[in-house]
Symmetry: C2
């Protein structure tokens, strides 16, 4: 097989583009796709300081790597979630990547705020992924605001976005369908613009990119994600993709072109500000402060029966 | 397990309704669901003469059986497609069912018109399912018109409709999304109203119904359907359904309620009439006459080289 770009020996096949590449050309094309997504969707320019959310997994590290290689001005943002060995390893790989590349990294340790994910889950009995999502969104927004970043980039890839779309479509969640796009503009002074430069690159492509770039990333999935609905959707789409390469890309691209505009009326107006923390909120308090409230309530509820027992 | 309706011993579990039934109550509930679909969607009334398209498979025979049991006035319409032993068996089972119930049946034999599906496929080189669909639609409409039926009922079940919806959504075929509904009103004097009274009943439910009613139906799938995309979509949805019962029903129902209205602007205006056969057409000739044209062209193309060889 010949490389589509240089006609040398191809090593990497990309079935949904019906193409194969040598390592160097694959890296070139991957980065070019990232750059095109950024330009075409008006995500940011080379003048912007971009905050990159980095978990330590292949997608976010591949994104950071590509942005640096393309000459964008970046700072990494890592949240140490406190999920045992998984989080410890994630933080270690992220810090090693930053150190090796001489890159700026902000690390926030949830444990130091008493908000390690397992602690919050135990206190609120919320599903782990829901609680974790609320915490992450809050920290991303707050830290972006506090450090003066107008743009936050995340490593969501094609598989993530297609699986999310399938979930939204299976229940016709019109509100979520209206909001699902690769760029979410800022609607509040404390809301950074959220961008997903990898939204057209598959999980397979980001994994290959990370491999050929020699990026050392956390391979394990988060232990909480086992059995997550999102994985079922990914599996369903992967089975279709295996027989009909291009299914995921068409599904997402045609949605953005033909489907989403019909749900755009569902988008919320601008949010207000949370009465407690001042961050954006669609209710009197933001989702994060509501979660903290639950944490406090559960904590005090637990104290009462204990003292009753003692009396 | 107790029957949800009579509290007797349950034999049949319907997971997506989180219910179980004894045989009699299952039959009662199945028929009630058919009746409710007919009433709620304004498909037809007990005064209408309904033409029921009957293939000899479980769905269409279950539909016909339920309509008769519910007291509707029906006539069966069967197309003998000429697909070898599969079609022979389908016709035989359909005729036996009609005879046993003393029901009126119209049978059209495509072979007699020189239009057996394998013949058409060989002459036009069109995909079998596409050619077969065009032929069937034409015969359904023409025979309904010729015999004076205003309503044509087909046995499409929940699995069929959900798989079709998934296919339409994966490619965001906005025009097809606008048209996908359990009732297609007539838009031409030679177009019967098309209705799908089983659209909320799963393939599993129609199979169980046919079994407990002792209906003898063709079990084999059409040999042309092997590897059909539709089966891939059904498989994907079945895998999701197994983990999350109710997925298919929610997908279809919420589409009809929340999704389809946003694509309704895509519906075609009323069709014109085919310049050749007078049946409804969106172009100068209808799809069926275009197919016949292809058949003729291919036939004459084959003759030319043969006579050249001989000269």
């Amino acid at each position: 097989m010949k490389c589509k770009r240089c006609r040398g020996n191809a090593e990497i096949q990309v079935r949904h583009h019906n193409a194969a590449y040598c390592r160097d050309c694959f890296i070139f094309c991957f980065q070019r796709q990232v750059e095109r997504a950024i330009d075409k969707e008006h995500m940011f320019s080379r003048d912007d300081e971009v905050l990159v959310a980095v978990s330590g997994g292949k997608d976010s590290l591949a994104l950071w790597d590509a942005l640096v290689a393309l000459g964008y001005r970046t700072t990494g943002l890592h949240l140490a979630l406190g999920i045992g060995a998984y989080s410890a390893s994630s933080t270690q790989k992220t810090e090693a990547f930053a150190r090796l590349g001489g890159l700026q990294l902000i690390t926030a340790r949830l444990e130091e705020d008493g908000l390690a994910v397992p602690t919050v889950v135990a206190r609120t009995r919320r599903p782990a992924c829901a609680a974790c999502g609320t915490i992450k969104r809050h920290y991303f927004d707050r830290l972006a605001f506090e450090h003066g970043f107008a743009v936050l980039a995340t490593g969501h890839n094609l598989d993530d976005e297609a699986a999310r779309l399938l979930g939204n479509v299976l229940r016709w969640q019109t509100h979520h369908l209206g909001k699902q796009q690769p760029v979410l503009g800022s609607t509040h002074e404390r809301f950074a613009r959220k961008v997903k430069p990898l939204f057209r690159l598959s999980e397979y492509e980001t994994a290959v990119y990370a491999f050929v770039r020699g990026i050392d990333y956390v391979i394990d999935e988060c232990p909480n994600s086992e059995g997550a609905t999102q994985l079922l959707y990914k599996d369903a789409l992967n089975r279709l993709e295996a027989v009909m390469p291009g299914t995921k890309l068409t599904f997402l691209q045609d949605f953005l072109r033909l489907g989403r505009p019909r749900f755009a009326t569902e988008i919320d107006g601008p949010p207000g500000s949370c009465g407690r923390c001042g961050m954006p909120a669609y209710a009197a308090v933001c989702g994060f402060c509501a979660l903290l409230g639950d944490t406090d309530t559960r904590r005090s509820q637990r104290v009462i029966p204990a003292s009753n027992d003692a009396s």
